[in-house]
Symmetry: C2
Subunit: 326 residues, 2 copies
């Protein structure tokens, strides 16, 4: 498993270095403070998965590497903007093993730096001179905000359905992955088939990625996760392992689970009981299998492209999405 | 004075009704909750000054009215987005005589609804099919965020200079006015002279408007203002009346002012003492006169356009900017 991650990192080492440089270069605020706050999150060891997807997709479409790298920043800035706004929202204490920005700089600065990053993403996108690119970025931004609002409006709601969960993770996560992959085809003018193939790849990958992320909150330890497990539940966020188990539990166990969920101050022992029930009622394996199905779909989406080193890396990333441990 | 406001409102009654309808129509979220939260602020009796400026500028450039109205929503949505984020930041209790959105819906929903409105502004702008429009909107958004951050980073700083104050209000306020006026010339392809004229008008108007706004915090009463006077100071925001007076006061009075400013819990009597000093050291009249100068500059910017009913309204709006009472 961890071999997969190292294999990918080995194959894209140079690309990740270039992405890092571009992220530094394009940030370009007039205030040093903005660089400091944005940098606190932005340069704290993110995976750079979204810009990497853009760069690799662009290569698949034979788009000029130089522009591919530049425009790939759009997706890391958008991602960082939502993380900064999320931190204000969640009030979470740690991210990537560091205290969250708002605990150092306050909510106000954190919200505004998120706005700045969002604006920066737009300004870079506008440099493409391509209006379809702008439409895609505008729609992604709106979908992400609505996905987050949707999720937030269902906090603590034990009647949340799998369908609604899918709608939430599509908007809050998958549209950005989809955008990163699709945009390169649009920029490269690679045609409808390539655009659809890459959009589907990104979408399915994003769904698998979010499901794996939601699983980690139940299966990983604090070091791997960079935060405490069970954090989603403590915030009242119900994800697929819980939704599926609630739907399939008998009356007695369902009530027990609901009791634990509704008490956000649940003990370590409560969490253990819940984890057992998630395993017994198949919530963990169901989510894990469904993530694998989406990985499979993601790979199949790219069948119109001929075999290449780049394609192989995109396959590896798909495998990694569902298998990652952190 | 209030005759001026009524004269403008009489002249643009139909336009304001159409703007209202467009704001409702183009909002179009997939979640009812988003409409509710956005609507709480958006449909609470805003002046619609920014969309109105866009519509009037568009007419001056003989741009199609229908599109002028549609794209004018961009500026009210952007404005509302920053107000929602500001409310989270300021923690202010009231806006437009109503409790602020975050006191009802919480910080999280309020930040995200702001993000949604920002995204909506972009998506509408992208429908113009004009990449220069997108670049302008992206840059405005970045400038506004940096202006707010700049202001926030200087909270309680009694060494803030007039130059820095100008930079802050340019970014946080004037660029949006400038954008609303300039964009119509870009959309109408009205040429560089018209674009520059309208940009200058919007910029100067925005500066005058913000100065007048900052004055109101010292001169208006709670009913006119919709919130308590002295609110800026209570948040540690130093504006021109204070900056100018501090720079011109003798040692003793300067120290007295600084003492009042630094104690954010200042009493009504402290505020009265401060107000007296602002009058004595000319901070009030200096700001008021400077606002008038910018109004004059705004009007002069439009001299390349022939006389018309629309031009007359833009002149009236310029006069109103510095004379308004709320």
């Amino acid at each position: 498993m961890s071999g997969l991650k190292e294999k990918i990192l080995g194959a894209v080492k140079d690309e990740l270095l270039t992405i890092e440089k571009e992220l530094e270069k394009n940030l370009d605020p007039y205030l040093d403070l903005v660089r400091e706050i944005a940098g606190h999150l932005l340069f704290s060891g993110g995976k750079r998965l979204r810009p990497l997807l853009m760069v690799l997709s662009a290569r698949l479409c034979e788009y000029d590497d130089e522009f591919g790298f530049k425009f790939s920043c759009i997706f890391e800035y958008l991602h960082a903007a939502t993380l900064l706004h999320d931190d204000v929202i969640d009030g979470a204490g740690m991210r990537r093993g560091k205290p969250v920005a708002n605990s150092i700089y306050g909510n106000a600065m954190t919200v505004l730096t998120g706005d700045f990053l969002l604006a920066k993403a737009l300004s870079i996108a506008a440099e493409s001179g391509n209006i379809k690119v702008m439409k895609i970025i505008g729609d992604i931004t709106g979908d992400m905000a609505q996905g987050e609002i949707h999720q937030l409006s269902k906090v603590g709601d034990v009647t949340l359905t799998e369908n609604e969960y899918m709608q939430v993770i599509r908007n809050k996560t998958a549209v950005l992955f989809m955008g990163a992959c699709r945009l390169s085809a649009v920029l490269a003018d690679a045609g409808e088939e390539a655009e659809k193939a890459l959009a589907d790849y990104g979408h399915n990958l994003g769904i698998a990625f979010q499901m794996a992320d939601d699983l980690l909150d139940y299966t990983a330890d604090v070091e791997t996760l960079g935060k405490n497990p069970g954090a989603d539940l403590r915030e009242g966020k119900l994800t697929l392992p819980v939704i599926y188990s609630l739907a399939n539990a008998d009356e007695k166990d369902r009530l027990l689970m609901e009791k634990i969920i509704k008490n956000k101050e649940f003990s370590a022992n409560d969490f253990k009981i819940l984890l057992n029930l998630l395993n017994n009622y198949g919530g963990i394996s169901y989510t894990s299998n469904l993530a694998l199905e989406y990985v499979q779909k993601a790979k199949e989406s790219l069948k119109c492209f001929g075999r290449s080193e780049t394609l192989d890396i995109l396959y590896l990333i798909a495998d990694y999405a569902s298998e990652r441990k952190g």
